[in-house]
């Protein structure tokens, strides 16, 4: 039996007296995409921050490929194979696409320690390669600020992939995209699965998520109140189900 990419057991987190996560458990099998739907304040961002090592959890267990892990810093999460793509994508807009992809891990000419020259040619070639592998080729020499929303997303994903992650966390991956561009993300996720990457996508735009995720979880007030397989339900089914849960939650909160 192969291990799941990531398993969460009863994750709890409070900020002072506010209980944000009240025992969240979820499982993402290898090469699968888990879509977490929830309204603002449901605890989505907190969960992502725990998984990316920004916040420590109060209780519960995280297993990455069967191994229990403990993150104190973002670097710990990265070393465990978890990469996070922020909603704002965290790109250096004045640099070109290739420079962003290799930021912090520049390729150099020559060997040995000391002051090594950057290998621009190699970085552009490798950047073009990884971009091609996740979607469409785009000009690697163009400044990021001159790229479209979808292209920026590709650059951010390509950069994350350079760390060879096993699990990719994406916060509101479609928020920056126009409605038609959601299929860009769709295609991207399919390619990532082919590469053996598992994903957790978090969004309040559930109509986007149910198009791309394998499993949908509905997070309400820090708890997963419903979870279902996207393949075995019709779009309408899922929509009614999520809308009902979320409106119940909203009424309950009021």
């Amino acid at each position: 039996m192969t291990d799941n990419a990531i398993e969460l057991h009863d994750i709890e987190k409070s900020f002072g007296p506010v209980e944000v996560l009240k025992g969240v458990s979820l499982t993402v099998p290898p090469s699968r995409c888990y879509g977490l739907v929830g309204d603002n304040g449901a605890g989505k961002s907190t969960l992502l921050k725990i998984l990316s090592g920004v916040h420590p959890r109060d209780a519960g267990e995280i297993l990455v490929e069967g191994e229990p892990v403990d993150f104190n810093t973002a670097l710990d999460a990265r070393l465990a194979g978890i990469e996070m793509i922020y909603q704002d994508l965290a790109l250096a807009e004045d640099l070109d696409a290739a420079s962003n992809i290799f930021l912090g891990r520049e390729r150099h000419k020559g060997r040995g320690p000391g002051f090594k020259r950057l290998d621009h040619k190699r970085m552009h070639a490798e950047a073009a390669e990884v971009l091609e592998s996740v979607g469409s080729p785009l000009p690697t020499k163009r400044q990021v600020k001159a790229l479209s929303g979808g292209e920026r997303q590709l650059v951010a994903v390509a950069r994350a992939l350079e760390f060879n992650p096993r699990i990719l966390l994406m916060d509101e991956p479609t928020a920056a995209l126009s409605v038609e561009k959601v299929n860009v993300v769709n295609r991207l996720i399919a390619r990532l699965k082919d590469r053996g990457v598992s994903m957790i996508l978090v969004s309040h735009r559930f109509t986007d998520l149910i198009q791309v995720a394998d499993t949908i979880g509905v997070l309400v007030h820090g708890k997963i109140v419903d979870e279902f397989d996207a393949a075995s339900h019709s779009m309408d089914d899922m929509t009614t189900r999520i809308v009902r849960l979320m409106s119940e939650a909203a009424v309950g909160a009021a």
Binding site: A74, L75, Y86, A90, L91, A92, E93, D94, L95, D96, A98, S99, N100, L103, G104, R105, E106, F115, K116, R117, L118, H120, K121, K141, R142, Q143, K145, A146, L147, S148, G149, G150, E151, R152, R159, A175, A176, L177, S178, K181
Partner: protein, 342 residues
């Protein structure tokens, strides 16, 4: 955000300096002009024309160009450091004080029997040390660089006064004096040092991580940190280089005058920052070019020189530099908004 999604077709060829290695002189010139801003080239040309036709007959003369060059050298060497700091999203107001302190220090070394090499190393070390302090306070201490360097501007100047009791250090060392008089093929040492500084960093910036991280941190510090770039360490480097070059400026100023003056180079930060911003660097960081700074310096030095030659009272110099600074920032702001609109 939807307008970002619709920018697919923008045929923008603008690229970050240091991140693209297009071949061809034409391409390089086009890129440079667009990054520095075509305006600067126009006003620089217009300026020469005006002073040539309307100014003093001595304006177009080798000796005057050497005078302009010497003036440029003092501001220019430290302007390289200021450009680096500003592109990386920082700001360095302390350069004038550092230069004075280093000038006094280097003069004191040769006056007390030290060698020329010892003198220049002292100037560089003083500058680098203060620069590292600036970088540490700004980075690790998370203090706004404007405040940090405003503080060290006062502190360092004060220390220079205390140590010298505000007495100038006159240099009788012959080799030191000769640096201010001799030339290399007609070029004063100060101008040679200026050019070498520009050429050295012009070589480093596009080829090494130094330049890459300078733009990256200035462009989006958080993104660089998330990518694993050690921000605070690089801030030490950038401020350290700026301090070191301010120290070098102090040394050059001292040998040009054969004197270390504790109250010298006061207010050069105004002219230097004006030149950097005129040269296309953004106060928001992430954008700028050394060549732009060079042209900005040329513009300012020529302007001040031309005004003097045209018989304008030196009191107007400050008005001219101050106005140029405000115009440059207005221009930067306008350009930023235009770029933001795509």
């Amino acid at each position: 955000m939807s307008d970002a999604a619709d920018r697919d077709q923008t045929p923008s060829e603008r690229s970050a300096p240091g991140t693209i290695r297009e071949s061809g002189l034409i391409a390089w010139i086009r890129r440079t002009v667009s990054e520095v801003g075509p305006g600067l080239f126009v006003i620089l040309g217009a300026e020469f024309l005006v002073f040539w036709r309307l100014g003093h007959p001595h304006f177009i003369q080798t000796s005057n160009f050497i005078a302009i060059g010497k003036r440029m050298a003092i501001n220019g060497i430290t302007a390289v450091g200021e450009t680096i700091v500003i592109i990386s999203g920082g700001f360095d107001l302390s350069i004038g004080s550092i230069a004075a302190m280093a000038g006094v220090g280097s003069a004191a070394v040769v006056e007390n029997g030290g060698t020329l090499l010892g003198s220049i190393l002292t100037a560089l070390a003083i500058g680098a040390f203060i620069g590292l302090v600036n970088g540490a306070i700004t980075g690790y201490g998370r203090i706004n660089p404007f405040i940090t360097t405003l503080g060290t501007l006062a502190i360092v100047r004060g220390v220079a006064f205390v140590l010298t009791n505000n007495r100038q250090v006159t240099v009788s060392h012959e080799g030191f004096q000769n640096l201010g008089k001799d030339t290399v093929g007609g070029m004063p040492y100060s101008v040679l040092i200026l050019l070498l500084t520009f050429i050295f960093f012009g070589f480093i910036v596009p080829r090494y991580r130094f330049g890459r991280y300078m733009y990256a941190i200035g462009s989006n510090e958080r993104a660089a940190a998330l990518a694993g770039v050690r921000i605070n360490r690089w801030k030490l480097v950038f401020f350290g280089v700026s301090g070191m070059l301010a120290g070098l400026t102090g040394f050059v100023n001292a040998f040009q005058l054969a004197t270390g003056i504790p109250s010298g180079t006061t207010g050069i930060e105004l002219e230097v920052i004006t030149a950097v911003i005129l040269g296309g660097a953004s106060l928001y960081g992430g954008r700028g070019r050394l060549l732009g700074t060079f042209l900005g310096l040329m513009f300012l030095s020529t302007l001040l020189n031309g005004l003097i030659l045209s018989g304008v009272s030196p009191f107007y110099q400050k008005i001219a530099s101050g106005s140029s600074l405000i115009l440059a920032v207005l221009f930067d702001e306008w350009r930023r908004r235009r770029l933001a609109r795509g």
